[in-house]
Symmetry: C2
Subunit: 608 residues, 2 copies
């Protein structure tokens, strides 16, 4: 949370009603068949658009709202009210309406203009109410497809959304693959955890068992189940915030509630917040829509196991950008990671980052982490259709300098090992770069004619740098394995200057040789004569200004090995050594005479 966030501000609730003048409507008279059975005789869609559709109709971005959102994603002009994703959508923003034609429809089943339970059922002449059929995310996407085609668009530049909106984006990518070039899914999951589903169940029960619900036919018949809907909304708000965010918002003044007009308990600060959110929500949202949409969320299910997810995601033909948020416990990062792993195993182009955040699920709506998630979206969109990425103008030297800022780098300004590694990899080869940093090696490989390349990196700024270059990069920790990848998925797996920071050496090398036909491993050589001297003559732990670069007490490196040690290890573990390149990085040359003594670095090509 930014410190100036007012306690009662929540991005989806501060604005007033949607100004009708910007909402457009289209009615589809064909009956719509529904996934769970039954159908709707007629469907109206309320939507708003921003920016201009290009003559080729190739710049459209479909934005999908979450549970309580609507078509008003951003303001249309200075007088307009703010939209629910005002931070992200607009001129010059991450989804830049100066470049893209943005479409945001109210979802099927909603209550803000698109056909939903509060619409008139043409067959009965009265509101659907509880007779509104069970709908699914696929049904919502089918309706959006009608709208997109109605607007003359055959292929979307991208579909973007978070939470339920992310479920829609996932469905677009897999159900209508030919219509999507890029998919951006934030804070979402292939299906709810049982915990997340449980909250929806309790919320629905609170509505359904409120006597004012009147079996769902409360329209024109009193205020409706305001207590039940308020209870459901309070509960929702707990799940949208992280524990950390709640402590920050309420803990310092837990016994000083804000004065709010409400019939709910307000003894505690957090209680007055929840009461306010509950009361305010019933003014703008329909209980039957809440039931309908949460049921669709709960029914959404791409599977859970690796096999199920691979199968569900295999049809996609788009590039992917997935992001989760570290404290989101409603759509926890591990669920996004399962999808990322399945996409990787299917060889789909994907970038992923679990953005460090205190804000919980709501993070994708807030300003705090916008510099990461917004900029990643901007870069992803910019690089979607260009074969030569916009931000790849840096020279090799500049790239190297960026790479040399890595904490484990042993280099001052130039990655000498890259020159040798590049030589080892023929054009067209598929490559996985472990600990890829800012993407220096990957960018060179791409320029060298290797299209099928991907990096693993831990640092989110480095990940952003890779996305800016149009490189596929996935957040991951080597010590947790390479389970995302299939056997023999790559021609080469590169581990450059990272082995010395790996705890589970055996496990990582085993994984490298499982997913790659060959592994290229570069590491500093502790057998180098200068380092031997430190220990044998001075009685000090080996160290050097330019090599290893640290003292015994402050090094990020935890493994110290010589070339001979590595050879012993390979022998002992039945690993074949195909080629070795030894370097003297200070002199800037290759070493051929007694490398274990004369080289400060080695590059070794291995296989099973």
């Amino acid at each position: 949370m930014t410190s100036d966030t007012p306690v009662f501000d929540s991005s989806d609730s501060v604005r007033s009603a949607v100004p009708l003048k910007y909402v457009q409507y289209v009615t589809f008279q064909e009956p719509l068949a529904l996934e769970e059975g039954g159908g709707l005789p007629i469907v109206r869609v309320a939507y708003e658009t921003y920016g201009r559709l290009s003559p080729a109709a190739d710049n459209a971005v479909l934005v999908c709202h979450a549970l309580s959102g609507d078509s008003h994603v951003a303001r249309h002009d200075a007088e307009d009210t703010a939209g629910w994703w005002e931070l992200v959508v607009g001129p010059g923003k991450a989804i830049d309406t100066d470049h893209y034609f943005v479409i945001c429809p109210n979802l099927l089943g909603g209550c803000r203009g698109t056909t939903g339970p509060n619409s008139i059922n043409p067959e009965t002449g009265r509101s659907y109410g509880a007779d509104f059929p069970v709908i699914t995310v696929r049904d919502m996407v089918n309706v959006q497809k009608l709208l997109v085609e109605h607007l003359g668009i055959r292929r979307l530049r991208a579909v973007a959304g978070g939470s339920l909106g992310g479920q829609l984006a996932l469905t677009w990518a897999t159900q209508l693959p030919a219509m999507v070039a890029g998919t951006i899914a934030l804070a979402t999951s292939p299906r709810l955890t049982s915990q997340a589903m449980a909250f929806d169940v309790v919320g629905r029960n609170a509505i359904l068992r409120d006597p004012a619900y009147q079996d769902g036919q409360y329209y024109g018949n009193g205020p409706g189940p305001t207590v039940g809907l308020s209870i459901a909304r309070m509960l929702g708000h707990i799940t949208y915030l992280s524990r950390e965010a709640m402590i920050e918002k309420f803990d310092a003044h837990r016994l000083q509630p804000r004065q709010v007009q409400t019939q709910f308990e307000t003894r505690f600060s957090v209680g007055s917040y929840l009461a306010y959110q509950g009361d305010k929500f019933v003014e703008r949202f329909d209980a039957n829509s809440y039931l309908t949409l949460t049921m669709a969320i709960d029914l959404f299910d791409l599977g859970d196991s690796r096999e199920e997810l691979r199968s569900a995601l295999s049809s996609s033909q788009c590039r992917w950008l997935l992001m989760s948020f570290s404290t989101d416990w409603l759509f926890p990062p591990f669920q996004s990671e399962k999808m990322v792993n399945a996409l990787i195993a299917e060889g789909k182009p994907v970038s992923y980052c679990s953005v460090k955040s205190n804000c919980g699920h709501d993070a994708f709506l807030l300003a705090d982490e916008l510099p990461i998630y917004g900029e990643a979206m901007r870069a992803f969109l910019a690089n979607l259709d260009s074969s030569a990425p916009a931000d790849d103008t840096l020279t090799d030297v500049a790239l190297d300098e960026l790479s040399c800022q890595d904490p484990t780098s042993i280099f001052h300004s130039r990655r000498l090992d890259y020159d040798s590694i590049i030589e080892l990899i023929p054009p067209g080869a598929s490559v996985l770069d472990l600990g890829c940093g800012n993407g220096g090696l990957l960018a060179r490989l791409r320029r060298n004619g290797c299209p099928n390349i991907i990096g693993i990196e831990l640092d989110e700024k480095a990940i952003l740098a890779c996305v800016r270059r149009g490189l596929d990069v996935v957040q991951g920790d080597l010590d947790h394995g390479l389970s995302a990848f299939a056997d023999g998925q790559f021609d080469f797996v590169v581990l450059s200057q990272t082995l010395q920071a790996v705890m589970d050496v055996k496990g990582v090398l085993k994984e490298i040789l499982r997913v790659g036909r060959q592994g290229i491993i570069s590491f500093p050589n502790i057998g180098y004569w200068k380092l031997r001297k430190h220990l044998s003559e001075e009685g000090r732990a080996p160290r050097a200004g330019s090599l290893l670069g640290y003292y015994w007490y402050n090094s990020p490196n935890v493994r110290f090995l010589s070339i001979a040690d590595f050879e012993d290890f390979c022998r002992g573990n039945k690993i074949k050594i195909h080629q070795q390149i030894a370097l003297d990085t200070e002199a800037g040359c290759k070493v051929f005479d007694d490398p274990n003594l004369n080289a400060d670095m080695a590059i070794v090509v291995i296989s099973q």
Copy 2:
């Protein structure tokens, strides 16, 4: 969760009604003044007892139940129904009724025999209902005190409880310090997080706004707010389970609900579980008690900051055993750790473990982690009153053998460094042992006449071993600092054979010299001639069978230093070296000639 846990089993709900024959009652006719104002003219307490009070009345253990518990903590005989802590209380169990006289009263404000909202108000002749006053945990403890005195007990061997029961234990220890020898508080906290409080608020609102609540006077007037209470209970059950436990219970068959008779939604497996729990709860629990007890939980507040907690806990005169559970998100471990840190800073004897568990908050009621939390309670109780702990009969050699099983140990069978460290510490000195393992050094120090000693350890089995020996031990990770401790709190801080596994060397040494007047650091010496030879002559990373004990690729050690390196470090960081002992552990002797070359281990005494 154990794999054979039935989906619908929950330890506090499977049993049928309490068989009245074992419940005893006592009525206190004196008016009881209440913390939040007002009072009760008369208080009745329902309680059960187990085992026999010793002639000296010094074996009583008071067990405090949680929100929905009651006096029936365990069965009284083979025909009796199981109690809510059947796993823990009984003959031969952790709280062994063959040894202890166990008392378990129903809490003030409850609905199972002790005065609560469903009791008759003698001033009006009808049930209190919503007129029942706001009560606090302190009020509950005051009533328990009346009962304990009524039973002829002046000092309790221990007070034990989890969750709300833990809040009572904390209150006993701080409010009536002279009456408590030992405090066992599980899965509790000094005050709720705002998140945990938010769930209580929503639950209360569901009850209060249920039309059947009738302003709290529903007794004899319909079934009462069964929907609201069910909703509150469903919500509670979500918070008692971890996300992991819910996935395990429900995810494989999420769309196959169990058939239950209910008016709540049962489309999903997790929904049928919640519906069942909600429906069942209203049969045995009173909504006004739910309101009363959750309000007491929410009002409980020992403070949050280090200063507040130190001040709140400083009055205690007992030994402490605190335990939290890793996936408990209702009473998360960090909150217990705050209390532990405050107790340590106050110099109170405390042991603590965050027990690794998948079971969430309910873990303290379940069998899964009983081997840790139950055994720790058993050992803690056994060692409470004895100056010579029961389980300290192991010889030094046996102790050493246990210690040598530590993964970072460099020793085969005997901790030679202990002999030297013991020599350095005079009787009476206070000592903190970092990475204390099974407590081998601490046990020797205690035998040597050092009463004020405590250990820090990461491994929960090692912690249990220390508790069995009656040693104070606290779970902690050195790389996260020693913030629990006050400046200069100890005469000596020992870091034996652990420096080589520490990433943040500078930070840890700085902390050692902040909290200890002197630090005693032992570490393996990479300058040892045999190790030099590995590198200088063989070109291999230093290693040895008996020293360092690992290869470059599989060592838990991440720091490699010589005695000279350590001396350089001290010079550079203005650390004084008072004394050095160099050992040749293979020869089993001290080294005086060129230690950096001839010793494989060093023990260094340092100060600021």
